[in-house]
């Protein structure tokens, strides 16, 4: 299957959005902070890699690191300002959209970063250069695979560390968490800057894979939505949700887009996307992955006491 270049590039996108979904999922699914402007961080990562590489020939590795630091600081600043002035919940989410749109408009008019004309990476030469993160589609597939694996391991690691416990407590009930000594102000800033920095890393690789950066696509609302579809469909707050969700949603979107083209039904992919999203939210409100887990447990153990038994086995 890996011989088919279309499948490879599709899987590369699926894996990249798995990673971006992980980053978003860390923030909402574990930290309880909703962002609808994750494109801001993705874009900052993409532009850091793009500007340094295209303008100065500096290795994308440096660009990725720069992007992560930049996005992490921007995320921390937004969080600090917002929570310092008691902007939280849905108002914080609105602030993230505003920040992303502000950045998109700024980058659209900024000649230095290519404005609306965007930035173009030089065409790949065919050889694989790890030091410059350049290679063919197969190379980027493995980069995306590594990134997604890193995302899953990282999420699992954070989830099992004290941060995971403290963040989930903060997500479930902030004032109860504070009464138990959780410094929620610092922890919210921390989870948001980690999420922003990882989104930037994903954005930098996404830019390399696409070969070009345009403010409207890399920083637009559409990208913010694409980032959150994986975890929402797959299962919010779960480690494997973003992977399962991206695997389900992105190929479907591409398939329907192709089908729509051949049947001459414009927008068929968007209609299908909408129907699938509504169905998932309606029938599996906690996502596909938790439903799979429930199904497996129900098959393994006798139905009467499965919950207690499976818990005991874990001990």
């Amino acid at each position: 299957m890996l011989a088919n270049p279309y499948v490879i590039s599709l899987m590369t996108i699926v894996l990249l959005f798995t990673f971006l979904g992980q980053s978003w999922n860390l923030m909402l699914g574990i930290g309880g902070q909703l962002s609808i402007g994750h494109a801001l961080f993705v874009g900052l990562g993409a532009y850091s890699v793009g500007v340094l590489y295209v303008k100065y020939g500096i290795s994308p590795w440096v660009g990725l690191l720069t992007g992560m630091i930049l996005a992490g600081s921007v995320g921390a600043s937004i969080a600090w300002l917002s929570f310092r002035f008691q902007v939280r919940g849905i108002y914080f989410a609105l602030l993230t959209i505003a920040a992303a749109e502000f950045a998109r408009i700024m980058f659209s008019g900024w000649e230095f970063v290519g404005a609306m004309q965007g930035l173009f990476f030089p065409a790949p030469t065919g050889g694989i250069e790890i030091s410059m993160l350049r290679g063919d589609t197969r190379f980027y597939y493995f980069v995306a695979l590594a990134l997604a694996a890193l995302g899953i391991i990282g999420t699992e690691f954070i989830s099992r560390s004290y941060l995971g416990y403290v963040w989930r407590a903060m997500r479930d009930d902030e004032s109860a968490a504070r009464a138990l000594g959780v410094r929620t102000f610092q922890h919210k800033i921390l989870v948001i800057s980690i999420s922003a920095a990882t989104a930037a890393a994903g954005g930098g690789v996404l830019a390399l894979v696409q070969g070009s950066i345009f403010p409207d696509s890399i920083m637009g609302m559409g990208l913010s939505v694409d980032v959150l579809i994986g975890p929402v469909v797959g299962g919010l707050g779960t480690t494997f949700g973003p992977l399962v969700g991206s695997l389900a949603a992105i190929p479907l979107n591409h398939l329907m887009s192709a089908l729509g083209d051949s049947l001459r039904i414009p927008g068929l992919n968007n209609i299908t996307y909408g129907v699938v999203l509504i169905s998932v939210v309606w029938f599996l409100p906690d996502g596909i992955w938790p439903a799979i887990v429930r199904l497996c447990k129900a098959i393994q153990a006798p139905p009467t006491a499965w919950l207690w038994q499976s818990r005991k086995v874990e001990e």
Partner: protein, 241 residues
Amino acid sequence: MTTLLEVENLSRSFGGLVAVKDVSFSLRAGRITALIGPNGAGKTTCFNLVAGALKPTSGRVLFEGRQIDNSPPETVCRMGIARTFQIVRPMREMSVLENAMIGAFSWTRNVSEARSKAYESLESVGLAAKAHARADQLTLPDRKMLETAKALSTRPKLLLLDEVMAGLRPTEAAGIVDVLQRLAEGGLTILLVEHVMRIVMEVASRVVVLHHGAKIAEGPPEEVVADPKVLESYLGAGFHA
């Protein structure tokens, strides 16, 4: 006998309503003190002022000689005051054990250390057998005890309990009384906000009575219940036992 907590001329108003009016009392280390009063007496407001969830309009709260009334709840907790909530608030998607672990992260970042402290807290309130149940599957008395266990995991010097026995049957309440007495014997100082007088009589060594936001009596329980002002506040004027 040392004084752990001192409340000095504490007042708090919400708009024009004075909820707590010039209240002073102190808590002695290792004792159970009860804050009682009829509905709307300002007990919970007073409790929230001590826990850092509310800022006083005037007056001071001193814990081990340090002023704490301007500190946020997480700082108050880290200084050694843990609280429960009147409406029980388990983290729903987490197990009983995980709920009890959160408090331990105020002094350690080690997950297994937090887990063993959480077991210890659950053990001391008699919930260890249900450690792996989901928090929202517990019965009401168990949830109340989980609240206490969560607070105990922070390793408090002072435990603030808000109506921990409200809504329980007498046998269930008796179980909680046992737990509290054992904790106090272990050296913990407890401030109990309670509506149910009979339980307070059994467990508290000292009682502070609030009425319309002001302190109307303070002393050992048997003296306080004989006080005509207290009887009047609970049962209305003209009633004398």
